[in-house]
């Protein structure tokens, strides 16, 4: 990343500065400092940062490359499951070893494995370890899975779809079908990932049992901020320069790009896979903060919400995606947690927990109709680019 890159993209610098200030502010106000912000709110903010990370990935694939993927949350979920498997295995192992150590004679490895299997898969009426848990005991391998599995899935799916020149709405529906298939698969008890129970207790980090949650959540918050910063840099670099030129050209007229001699499919595949990997990483950071992951998280609706955030924030600009994701998801949790006072109309009282989705749906239509550039478009009025 040469000097000219930041020089040519001043918004990157501004963004990183804002993110740094925000992170520092939250750290100071958290329980580690002035104790103004509760641990659960630090978790919410940390999760929001992860959502911002997948939102910029979505922005690159949709806003820049023109592929409206309705399946990126599948990659997010896979990342979560991959890290969740290690968290759950390692933690259960700790508990099991602890309880078996009170026996007269030491347990055999087989006994330990059986007991862990019983603990984890008892809820789906099984105690056998499925094959996909083969690496669950290794943090390193599971971290590798966080990257490899979404990457490979995106590579195979993208290769199939782009090769046959499925585009536009068709492609969107195909990606939606992909995430639906994955969610349905995971809902089965014999999927090997505990069916609709999902993986739980992920907020307990093995090896840090004695560390208070306030410290752990702050650490994850900082990790998420770092990931978002790095992700932002990565994507800003990708979409600037000639690569950005080509993928924007693909978005605007892919046939023309082909006649210029570019293998459009390879570019789409590159963008699709790269964003899928980043989505997986975002998921791997998100779910330890959320504490639980289940197949409902991967349902098609989640990926559509992702598109909604990016659209509201403003497509085709990375900070727009961050603003959209942060704004809508925080607003959403504020409204749905009952934090907004009810409005009494005399004949009817508007409970926002009931009406938030209606408001969101309608405002989303309004944004699409009247502000196609989203919230980020407002910056255009503030910063007039010289032309």
């Amino acid at each position: 990343m040469d000097k000219t890159f930041i020089g040519r993209n001043p918004s990157v610098l501004w963004f990183l500065l804002a993110l740094g200030l925000f992170t520092a502010g939250v750290t100071i106000l958290s329980e580690a400092g002035l104790s103004v912000i509760s641990t659960s709110f630090v978790k919410t903010l940390g999760k929001t940062l992860c959502l911002c990370l997948i939102a910029i990935a979505m922005d690159v694939v949709w806003g820049y490359c023109g592929i409206l993927s309705l399946g990126h949350f599948a990659f997010f979920g896979i990342g979560g499951y991959a890290i969740g498997m290690w968290l759950m295995y390692a933690r259960t192992e700790g508990i099991v070893v602890e309880s078996l150590s009170s026996q007269v004679i030491p347990p055999t490895p087989q006994e330990i494995t059986d007991a862990i299997g019983n603990q984890i898969f008892g809820v789906v009426g099984s105690s056998e370890f499925p094959a996909i848990w083969a690496f669950a005991d290794s943090l390193f391998l599971q971290l590798l899975m966080v990257i490899l599995v979404p990457g490979l899935l995106a590579l195979v799916f993208g290769w199939l779809a782009f090769r046959s020149r499925v585009t536009g709405v068709y492609l969107s529906i195909l990606t939606q079908a992909m995430t639906l298939a994955l969610a349905l698969y995971l809902f089965q008890n014999d999927s090997g990932l505990r069916g609709n129970n999902g993986l739980s207790g992920l907020q307990n980090i093995p090896g840090f049992e004695d560390t208070p949650q306030s410290t752990i959540s702050l650490a994850f918050f900082l990790g998420s901020a770092l990931a978002l910063g790095l992700g932002y840099l990565l994507f800003a670099w990708v979409v600037s320069g000639k690569m950005g030129s080509v993928i924007k050209a693909i978005r605007d007229d892919e046939a023309r790009v082909r006649f210029l001699g570019y293998q459009v499919e390879s570019y789409k595949l590159f963008v699709f896979t790269l964003t899928a990997i980043v989505s997986g990483i975002a998921g791997a950071l998100y779910y330890p903060q959320a504490g639980i992951i289940n197949p409902a998280e991967i349902a098609p609706i989640a990926s559509i919400y992702l598109a909604v955030w990016v659209a509201i924030g403003g497509r085709g600009r990375l900070y727009g995606a961050v603003i959209g994701a942060a704004f809508v998801s925080l607003l959403s949790s504020w409204f749905t947690s009952g934090g907004v006072p009810a409005v009494n109309l005399g004949f009817y009282t508007i409970q926002w927990t009931d009406w938030w989705l209606v408001l969101l749906g309608v405002s989303f239509v309004a944004v699409t109709l009247f502000f196609p550039k989203g919230i980020g478009g407002l910056f255009d009025y503030l910063v007039r680019k010289p032309s």
Partner: protein, 644 residues
């Protein structure tokens, strides 16, 4: 057998020698057995009663079974009904009614076993009862508890039967009984052979009953038993199962499971060691077995049965299955008959599956055709299409709140649902879609916004619980071809509805001015506009039409599934896939897509019957692959018109 012959005599109308007696006389002869009946002793009484041929026997037996027979202190029996302190008495023979104080009577309370014996005897009478309902009940009771003793009475009751359906049932049942219980082998085989065309569950149960097997083992295959087949351990059964059989037959020592070893070791820790192995080293299976072997060597515990011991024991024996039925001819006939039946059942199941698939395809067609029309004409994917389906279903629900007659309410609901969703579609087109032409991806998102708003709105209005949309009685039940092939009337109705709409849409598109204009706009909007067709109007009407059909589909779907605010979402992805697979802008394409997806889904469900989730997963994977080979769907537009 004695009873059976008597019963025959009774049924054949022979006048028994004891006919001069009254019922009371017979009962008095066996007064003790009647008053305090036991399962064994009651048989004599029943035989005599049956033999008497007296008309009151059946009534008496029923009352006896009901605990409505009382004995007076002088030993006389009466049928009685309790009324506070008095009894309404009916004379057993004359039927004369009197009443008396309760304290001089004792109620007869036959126990459950006796009551069952009485019931069996009663069946013989009921089978011949003039009342057809009682005969039907009797036949049903035999079917519930088939028993050798019922074969005779049943055979005798066939000829006199006037009701054709009941007669057929009696013959079928008699066949079942003969197959299992007939006296000689020829009769049984004849009955078994006659079952080879019967696909009913009962017939298969009878044949399976004859073919039940038990496992056996010996050093060589026995010749004196009806052997069904040899079981090879490791192939037909697991080696663990084989060993378990050996243990059960006490031919081998039970295996020593790991937890027994552990318990034995824990019980024998001496000075921190088991044998000469320190406790700390017992964390491996090999060391544990060594320690256990040391304990066994000094006789503290039973010797360890190792894997090779078990293998040797298994290899010494032959494992096989024998039929519980000893006659080889019968089991062969039954096996052949069962094979024939299963072939027929398989054929039936295929037909049944095809019918299921057809009705599923009809539903997908109804759900997707509106979407296909709007997508074909306007290149607009309407994510709120599912919510229009939901609106249609709720319209039906609301109509039923006001119109009590289910038939009338459905007749009102269908056009009303069309009108409501047509209106909603037009409003949506005017307010939103119109402004987003040529931005298909944004239309997709805007309509998604409408979709979540409508869904939540429905939740706020109608609540989260499912609302019923009740079908008229004439749609209840199913058209039953056999135990295997049947289809519910609602599904037939939906199929017919889909056919009607297929015809209607084809008519509108091919034979009307509107259809001509719609096709013109589909194929070349610019040219159509320049020829004086107002694309705005066409788009509006098309969108309304597509939405209206969704409303009708909603009523249809609501009839057999529950009406919830989320029902639209359940169908939307399948509808999309129907459109994508079928190809855009063509009614036949949608039909082909719906059929493919419907049949595919049922086919996969059949291959993997335990799991509809897996079936759906595989189906979606198939569609993703299908798109690879036909990216434009089954019925694709060709040439320059297809270029985007």
């Amino acid at each position: 057998m004695h009873r059976l012959i008597l019963a025959f005599a009774l049924l054949l109308g022979l006048t028994p020698a004891v006919s001069a007696q009254t019922l009371q006389d017979i009962l008095q002869t066996h007064a003790d057995e009647v008053a305090k009946p036991g399962r064994r002793t009651v048989g004599v009484v029943l035989d005599d009663l049956a033999a008497s041929g007296l008309p009151g026997v059946a009534v008496f037996l029923e009352k006896w079974q009901d605990k409505s027979v009382w004995q007076r202190d002088d030993g006389q029996f009466f049928i009685a009904a309790e009324q506070a302190d008095t009894l309404q008495l009916t004379d057993i023979d004359s039927g004369e009614e009197t009443s008396a104080a309760k304290d001089t009577f004792t109620q007869l309370k036959p126990n459950g076993g006796v009551r069952r014996v009485i019931a069996t005897a009663l069946v013989q009478f009921q089978l011949m009862d003039p009342d057809v309902e009682r005969r039907t009940t009797a036949v049903a009771s035999i079917a519930r508890r088939p028993d050798a003793s019922q074969l005779g009475p049943l055979l005798g009751a066939i000829d006199g039967e006037t009701d054709a359906a009941l007669k057929a049932r009696k013959i079928q049942l008699a066949n079942f009984l003969s197959a299992s219980f007939a006296e000689n082998t020829e009769d049984r085989i004849a009955a078994i052979n006659s079952l080879s065309t019967d696909t009913s569950v009962e017939a298969r149960a009878v044949l399976n009953q004859i073919l039940t097997t038990s496992p056996g083992l010996a050093t060589s295959l026995p010749t004196d038993q009806n052997v069904a087949g040899v079981l090879t351990p490791g192939e037909d059964m697991t080696r663990d199962e084989a060993y378990r059989l050996l243990v059960e037959a006490e031919l081998a020592a039970p295996r020593t499971p790991p937890d027994v070893i552990r318990a034995a070791l824990e019980a024998n820790v001496v000075d921190g060691r088991v044998g000469n192995i320190p406790v700390a080293q017992l964390g491996s299976t090999a060391n544990r077995e060594r320690a256990y072997a040391q304990l066994a060597a000094v006789g503290t515990v039973a010797p360890l049965v190792t894997q090779s011991d078990r293998n040797a024991a298994i290899d010494e024996f032959i494992f096989f299955e024998t039929y519980d039925e000893e006659d080889k001819a019968i089991t062969q006939a039954a096996a052949a008959a069962l094979g024939a039946v299963e072939n027929r059942v398989a054929a039936g199941q295929t037909i049944d599956l095809a019918l299921d698939a057809l009705s599923l395809a009809s539903i997908y067609f109804l759900a997707a055709i509106g979407l296909a029309i709007t997508f074909g004409v306007m290149r607009v994917i309407n994510m709120a299409h599912g919510e229009f389906i939901m609106m249609g279903a709720y319209t039906g629900y609301v109509v039923q709140l006001f119109v009590p007659s289910y038939t009338a309410s459905i007749i009102i609901a269908l056009p009303l649902a069309f009108a409501v969703t047509f209106g909603a579609g037009v409003v949506m087109e005017r307010l939103v879609i119109r402004h987003l032409y040529h931005r298909p991806l944004e239309t997709l998102l805007a309509t998604f916004g409408i979709s979540i708003a409508l869904q939540q709105l429905a939740k706020n209005i109608f609540g989260t619980q499912a609302r019923p949309l009740t079908s008229p009685e004439w749609l209840d039940g199913a058209l039953v071809f056999s135990d295997v092939v049947q289809i519910s009337y609602i599904r037939i109705a939906i199929f017919v509805l889909a056919l009607i709409f297929l015809g209607l849409i084809l008519y509108v598109l091919k034979r009307t001015r509107l259809g001509l204009e719609v096709r013109a706009v589909t194929q070349n909007p610019g040219m159509a506009a320049s020829m004086g067709i107002n694309p705005d109007r066409i788009n509006m009407l098309t969108f309304g039409l597509g939405s209206g059909i969704a409303g009708i589909a909603g009523v249809a779907i609501g009839l057999y599934a529950k009406v919830t605010s989320e029902m639209g979402a359940d169908y939307i992805v399948q509808s999309f896939m129907t459109v994508v697979v079928g190809g855009v802008g063509n009614v036949w394409g949608t039909l082909a897509g719906a059929s493919l997806i419907g049949f595919l889904q049922k086919g996969i469900e059949w291959l993997n019957p335990s799991n509809t989730l897996a079936a759906q997963t595989y189906m979606i994977l198939f569609i993703i692959l299908f798109i690879q080979f036909r990216p434009k769907g089954i019925v694709a537009l060709k040439g320059r018109a297809a270029a985007d």
